[in-house]
Symmetry: C2
Subunit: 162 residues, 2 copies
DNA sequence: ATGACTGCAAACCTTTTGCATAGCG
DNA sequence: CGCTATGCAAAAGGTTTGCAGTCAT
């Protein structure tokens, strides 16, 4: 599992330590739905690792971000979401503001245009965030029957390059 | 001043009230640098309107957002920033992660591609956020002399459509 | 052994809210 | 007048931190 290797490299380089908590959290993080909240991960782990505290989840997720395993995202609901980024193609997000569904997409043309914009401003891009907010087809349809968007957050993987 | 008209229309429609605080905050908000923090606006107003409380600033900025005068943005530093959006073309942001400079840009080609992506996913877009993070030309140059990015946030208006 | 990691609870910090008062319509 | 807005202070809510004990190296 390459993710563990990356983490261990970072740990060795910074005189940190491999602990069972960190290993367990990494495993859970990899298994987890994309765009997990610290709280969600915490609850996920309550069954098999009831002793792990929420503070440790936060500390460990920050560690993952530092070593490039994860990225923190802010979709505007006040909960930071963490996303595995190692060995994953960059992608952007369609966010349904009603049912909270998150659809991922890739579009190389947009990325190229971003580079063009950056170059025009003599800017060196290290990362970017593109989020499109609106209604998914389901919610657009059932818009009149306005159900409260209390569904869980799903992530639908999908590629598209046109 | 059209902004005031829009605000008054919203106020009338919702049985709200025009107060001197709201008028003063609107004026300050229009004069303010783009991407103001509630706190920044609060401090800006301390001189001429010392009695206005921070809570009112927040409540009023939220009011501005509701009537379409402003938009809230989250650039990832934990402070919500508010941006006047009325009578302003939509634009996106280049954010220098070192000196915190924010450069605005417009790019219709990217917007068109976004629409295309949305259509492919049967998604109805209401808004979007595109932020490119990296180093501006100044910081890329003086990268070795790593000065702490404590500068104020500047906004440089700029258009570009290629 | 040394120094990092953990759980717990307290602290933090930005934003929101409750309440009594002030003020618009 | 009735009902909204305000200021203040307290609450909220997510995230971080201090501390004493635990554990990896």
């Amino acid at each position: 599992m390459k993710e563990e290797a990356l983490l261990q490299e970072h740990i060795a380089k910074h005189h940190l330590k491999v602990t069972k908590e960190r290993s367990a959290i990494l495993r859970a993080f990899i298994e987890a739905e994309r765009h997990v909240t610290a709280e969600e991960l915490y609850r996920m782990m309550r069954e098999k690792h009831a002793s792990i505290g929420l503070a440790t989840i936060y500390r460990t997720l920050n560690l993952f971000c530092e070593c490039g395993l994860a990225e923190q995202r802010q979709f505007g609901d006040g909960h930071a979401r963490y996303e595995l980024t190692y060995n994953v193609n960059h992608h952007d997000h369609l966010v349904c503001t009603q049912c909270k569904k998150i659809i991922e997409f890739e579009n190389m043309d947009i990325e190229k245009l971003q580079e063009k914009v950056a170059k025009a401003h003599r800017f060196t891009i290290y990362s970017h965030k593109l989020e499109l907010y609106g209604l998914c087809s389901d919610c657009a349809k059932s818009n009149s029957s306005l159900r409260k968007g209390k569904d869980e957050l799903h992530a639908v993987r999908s590629s598209r390059s046109e």
